[in-house]
Amino acid sequence: MRTSTRRSHRLMALAAVAALTTGVLAGCSSDSDGTSSNASDSGKGKTTLTVGTFGVFGYKQAGLYDAYMKLHPNITIKEDVTTRTDVYWPKVLTRLQAGAGTDDIQAIEVGNITEAVQTQADKFVDLGKDVDKSQWLPWKNAQATTKDGKQIGLGTDTGPMAICYRKDLFKKAGLPTDRTQLANLWKGDWAKYADVGKDYMKKAPKGTKFVDSASSVYNAAIGGESQRYYDKDGNVIWDKSTGVKAAWNAAMTVATSNMSAKLKQFDPTWDQGFANASFATVACPAWMMGYIQEKAGDSGKGNWDVAAAPTAANWGGSFLGVPTASKHQAEAVALAKWLTAPEQQEKVFAKQASFPSTPAAYPNLKPAAATTAYFSNAPITQIFSDSAKTIPVQTFGIKDQPIGTAITDVGILQVEQKGKTPAQGWSAATKEIKDVLGQ
């Protein structure tokens, strides 16, 4: 028995050493495999391009990669997806600064574009050179352009806002259900939208609230303001900003009343809120419509409708940039231009309602029949394209996103969920923003 244990020990140990050696060698040998984006030529004149995106692009699902590969047989496209932006962006930042490991095309979200423009512009190719800039909405181009006129990103989708609401709940609460009427009720001012909320709560059906959260109202409102947290010279002006004041006041009306369902967006509980019809309205960008359809399910069919939002606002949207570290700049630039061209943006819209940033596509947009029926045959394309065309040019700053989060996740949340006064919420947000800015 002892001998056999010893032998089996020896065998195990030999196997272990063999495995360890194989492991390290295998790791090293993937070097010559050509799987890294640094060695993407597999001979025979074929070029492999890697496209780095985060969760929300539908290029693969819309068949864009296959279509491009058919048009260009010498090009292979591989997608490198990281679902969450808050994991994707630090990774891209690190890789850009290391000068190695970036994909040939990197997507940049609107929340990060200003940081990219102000700190990483030298690491991206100037895409504005041989492209017809008028293809895109002007405010979209502006977001990705440096002070010297270098454009580091081409616009992909945008997030023009509307108000998605539940007709059946409105009816029960004695409110008008016609979308044009509603749009006029709250036109021009998110505070008016909150006033409609007060009316709703007077006769609200049991167990329902008017809106999902105060933060969503804030985000929608600030998305339509030209003055946000920074001025044109890059100074932080958040506490004096007219845009912030307007958005904050609208949010406070919601937070200090009982009209909010106090949910956190994209939390599982928010999903349940859709399924249970816990709230009657939500400020919805175009891309949220598919989400609502899925989460609210069959019980919502024909009960949801879309009305124009109080102001033309934008929430979300991205860009495609080409890092200078790419070994195939020319091909990558060509692919980026193609992916963001109006025809391709139409196809993505057809697949997942990502609203294009190229106005030329608007007349041709056809939402899925199921979506139109789901939202009571609302003129979806009209509503969103009207909004998209009139969104003002906004001034962004480098810490825009953390400042916004400080306001919503600290200031507004304290008032909404912990019963603090607006003044207390404001001072909490002030303190938080000071910490964000490292002061």
Partner: protein, 301 residues
């Protein structure tokens, strides 16, 4: 084999009565049978431990819409295989599983091997600066490692190792945790007399390691191997920075699920389930090793 030296000095019991029970394998209550209360406690513990994993399987067998409803589903639906298939294809799990096996396997073997060697040295060998070096080793664990990924990546990029598996294997090939763990275990479980006996027979240090240390350390090596394998398999923060989807580990690959504006939670859960299954297999393999070492009749007392 005389037994008188092997029993405690105050023992006045005649030899024959003590011999039989000692034949049993080591361990506290191993000679005792577990009462019903033990099983009750263990069952409760097992239910609480397993519940989230079971729920993952339940969620993976449903569709996205059902998962949003209240109350959440508490029993299985019909979509399990469809979702598993979707998750496998979407995430490219074939390559990812292969990579993760290599990565976690190498890290486990390296960690267990080097930790046992170092742990043994710190536990039983006398050499200069041993206390200082031990404290230094423990000290390295006290610095949070999360931010170090940035300079580490910069360096890996300099070495042109970005997106290759060795970036994920080499930094974790040794472990202060493992070294400290093996040291404490060997202090308790490896009687110095055994080592001395082997030395008397002229064994070199390597032979002592092979014939005395490894057998004595086997339960601890199994536990360390298990814990290391799980940690390496589930490691996320560094692999997501160091690798991309062309050469991913399982956790990196799973992070590509749920794309599109409507992440399909049921597919994400199916992916999570796929990612956990190899671990359960590893458990069954390693778990058998966590038995008493071959310390029968060891010198003690």
């Amino acid at each position: 084999m005389t037994t008188s030296e092997l029993t405690a000095p105050q023992d006045a019991v005649p030899v024959r009565e003590v011999r039989a029970p000692r034949r049993r394998v080591m361990g506290a209550g191993k000679q005792m049978h577990a009462g019903p209360l033990t099983y009750v406690v263990l069952i409760v513990f097992a239910l609480v431990s397993l519940a989230p994993l079971v729920w993952t399987a339940i969620a993976a067998s449903r569709n996205n819409q059902r998962l949003a409803e209240t109350p959440p589903p508490l029993w299985f639906g019909a979509n399990l295989f469809k979702n598993l298939q979707t998750a496998w294809d979407q995430a490219g799990m074939g390559t990812a599983m292969f990579n993760s096996t290599i990565v976690a396997g190498s890290i486990t073997i390296g960690t267990v091997l080097f930790s046992t060697l170092a742990g043994f040295a710190f536990a039983k060998l006398k050499f200069r600066f041993s206390s200082t070096l031990l404290l230094l080793t423990i000290g390295t664990m006290m610095i949070p490692p999360q931010l170090a990924v940035v300079p580490l990546y910069l360096w890996m990029a300099d070495l042109h190792w970005s997106n290759h598996l060795q970036t994920v294997i080499l930094p974790t090939l040794v472990s202060a945790f493992g070294t400290f763990f093996m040291r404490q275990y060997l202090v308790q479980a490896l009687p110095t007399e055994l080592i001395e006996a082997a030395r008397v027979d002229g064994a070199s240090s390597l032979r002592v390691v092979w014939h005395v240390v490894f057998p004595a350390a086997r339960p601890a090596m199994a536990v360390l191997g298990l814990l290391t394998f799980v940690m390496a398999w589930n490691d996320f923060l560094w692999p997501i920075i160091a690798l991309n989807q062309q050469n991913p580990t399982v956790q990196v690959a799973l992070n590509s699920l749920g794309t599109g504006y409507i992440p399909d939670q049921s597919v994400i859960m199916a992916g999570a389930l796929l990612g956990t299954l190899p671990l359960l297999i590893a458990f069954l393999l390693f778990g058998k090793q966590i038995v008493g070492g071959i310390m029968q009749g060891a010198v003690k007392g």
